[in-house]
Symmetry: C2
């Protein structure tokens, strides 16, 4: 990797970590500089301003890992979508190494914090959200064709419902700061999915 690209990536990764733990607005540029050992000149060479860096975090860090964890499993799916959905949710909540109960889901955090006053952030995040929604809806519809899912089930409805549950349990996790809520949630999530058969 070129050295300049390494600098940029270093900024993005460290900044992401800070923003994930502390929130975007309470993470100052000076703080990013001191943890990256990058100077202000270098920072503003790579990013026009703070918000452009924020968008870059979404597009260059969140988006790719989101693709791998949230979309790929659903797209390559041939078998039972309900089992798949549960396994995916279990993996994301219980086995993901980046996200913690205490700090929730980066995408969700960003949404909550930025939606009221930054259109660009919201648009970028809405893109991710919509992709996930569509992938779930499609998987459910395919499941209907393969006899895994009842015919009167609506894929889009399920997708919105599942997404809501995910955003919500992440939020709740931050509040109670204990993985046990994830377990409770997953139990009922399984029951819910079974009710779609």
């Amino acid at each position: 990797m070129k050295k300049a690209a390494a600098t940029r990536l270093n900024i993005l990764q460290k900044a992401f970590e800070l923003v994930y733990v502390k929130g975007y607005q309470t993470t100052s540029i000076d703080e990013i500089l001191s943890t990256t050992q990058v100077t202000k000149g270098a920072f503003y060479y790579h990013f026009k301003n703070k918000d452009e860096m924020g968008i870059a975090i979404i597009n260059e860090l969140l988006k790719p890992t989101f693709e791998i964890n949230f979309l790929e499993p659903l797209r390559n799916l041939t078998g039972d979508p309900l089992v798949m959905l549960y396994d995916m949710m279990y993996g994301i909540l219980m086995e993901n190494e980046v996200m913690t109960v205490e700090h929730g889901c980066p995408a969700s955090n960003f949404t909550q914090e930025m939606a009221p006053w930054n259109v660009d952030f919201t648009a970028a995040l809405n893109g991710l959200s919509n992709q996930w929604k569509q992938a779930i809806a499609d998987a459910v519809e395919r499941g209907k064709q393969n006899g895994y899912v009842r015919q009167d089930v609506d894929g889009e409805q399920v997708a919105v419902f599942v997404l809501s549950g995910y955003w919500g349990i992440r939020n709740m996790g931050k509040l109670v700061n204990n993985e046990s809520v994830y377990v409770t949630y997953l139990q009922q999530f399984k029951s819910y999915l079974e009710s779609l058969r």
Copy 2:
């Protein structure tokens, strides 16, 4: 009402409106002062600092309306808890006059924004959340005794699942900024509740 109490309430109400729309950290004290026409001296007479005002918003504004909209309906319940849960969710999402799709749920916003760095806020909000959870769980358990709900359903699981859905759909609403997601959510919420019979 005493004049001093009116000043305090005025600050809290206007500050709440600003915080709800713009977020807590991006709402400056100076901004609160200019919209309330209250001077800094008066503000700091009533509140030790900004965070104490934030806590007061939770305890003196959010909590009471939360009691009325989220708890009372569940506690005074004798009939079908599943119908009640749907009606309550419908009322909160579609008919509440304070909350909008664009700005979501104040309690949820607070949680997301403050959890990473303010213990007091989180504790206060966790109190509200737990009360709601317990009220839902109790209602479901009573519903089991009255034959409205299947015996193998777990009240606490349902409560966590319902709460998650609510937090989540509020978050999603902010993202897409369109009430139609509420409608979609409610449809599936109804199906889910029916599956508990």
